[in-house]
Symmetry: C2
Subunit: 219 residues, 2 copies
């Protein structure tokens, strides 16, 4: 987990290279905290960017969806893809407009995704996805039947060519701006869960499970 | 603002078409609540997806960044781009694994972005971006000088070919699963701001302005 990836010319962070992180462990911390990715692919010369859920299993990312999805149908054929995960941590207010920024952590993975065709691996992939988004939920749910498994497409993307980018901390104003009379600092931002809402069709008294009542993303 | 866009074969929502929204006003509500987009573009056959800030001015989206950015350099040449904005509203826990979902609102815009070269329009674009992310901040800040303006690239993407996708509400389980004994419902998720953090180099007593102390995204 302490491996440093060797950035290719495609994943090397060009803009503000000091923000580039090529450490696999750091990239995995970001991937493990997020659960929505934006998948990029090309169809007839046009790029598409689609949000979807994901899960990580070692050095592979699993993405899932319906077999009917335009995105996943295309990815299935093994076309080049880009998966980006972005965690927003705050707004950075500098004295100068120019030095305003955001605190964030992001990972960009380039690669080719392929459909998981083996039924056993597909079931495993779906459990990894479920456990990634809400640990504990899988075993509490009605398991997928054969028809549902068929209607679901799971894709596997090896995490080989990747880079992470991280910006944290206070604004960085130019020396001569420090006396400019305006407030400067950071507005922290965070994705938080609030009180779960019962499905109106719940039958009988079913308590909200712990994993839903205290949902947090690990850091 | 009540215009209904005519979805092209590229923006028509194929998967779960009942979630497709082609109303321009609804798409703009989503764009106005978000402020991070994921921009997709293609370079040498490889798709890239990069997070960045944006602002909306009527039927145009402004995206900005450094003139050194690989993404913006490419977009500047007028290559096809895709801009996607995703707002996550909750996790949807069904009885069956298969019917688990997320509540979200997303907009996908296809088009060609071009650099704003006119200096006056560029300054206007930057103000729109600033006002979009944190209203009130522009006038409190040290304005961009000529060198900074030169080092900044603003891009304009007309909002012509777009679609929005919205999923809200409780889980939708199959009839025969309703008696399955597990909790079902929604865990609401929201991006929230917490107490602003002073820049350690603040000189003198400068109060946190209202727009930073009570930062919320409008709905």
């Amino acid at each position: 987990m302490s491996e440093i990836s060797n950035p290719t010319s495609r994943t090397r962070v060009v803009r503000e290279p000091h923000r580039g992180v090529y450490d696999r462990a750091e990239a995995y911390r970001i991937l493990d905290q997020g659960f929505i990715c934006h998948v990029g692919f090309v169809a007839q010369g046009q790029p598409y960017v689609i949000p979807t859920g994901y899960g990580r299993d070692g050095d592979n990312l699993y993405i899932h969806g319906s077999a009917a999805s335009r995105m996943l149908r295309n990815l299935d054929q093994g076309i080049p893809a880009c998966v980006t995960v972005t965690l927003l941590d705050g707004l950075v207010l500098a004295r100068s407009i120019f030095n305003h920024s955001m605190n964030y952590r992001s990972v960009v993975i380039l690669g080719t995704a392929h459909a998981v065709t083996d039924q056993e691996e597909k079931l495993k992939a779906l459990q990894i996805l479920s456990d990634h988004i809400i640990p504990g939920r899988w075993t509490d749910s009605r398991q997928p039947n054969e028809k549902e498994l068929k209607a679901t497409l799971a894709l596997k993307l090896p995490i080989e060519e990747f880079s992470a980018k991280v910006r944290q901390g206070p604004p960085l104003d130019d020396e001569e701006d420090l006396s400019f009379q305006t407030w400067a600092g950071v507005i922290p931002l965070q994705m938080v869960a609030s009180e779960p809402i019962d499905d109106p069709t719940l039958q009988g008294e079913i308590k909200i499970p712990e994993y839903a009542r205290n949902y947090v993303r690990k850091h």
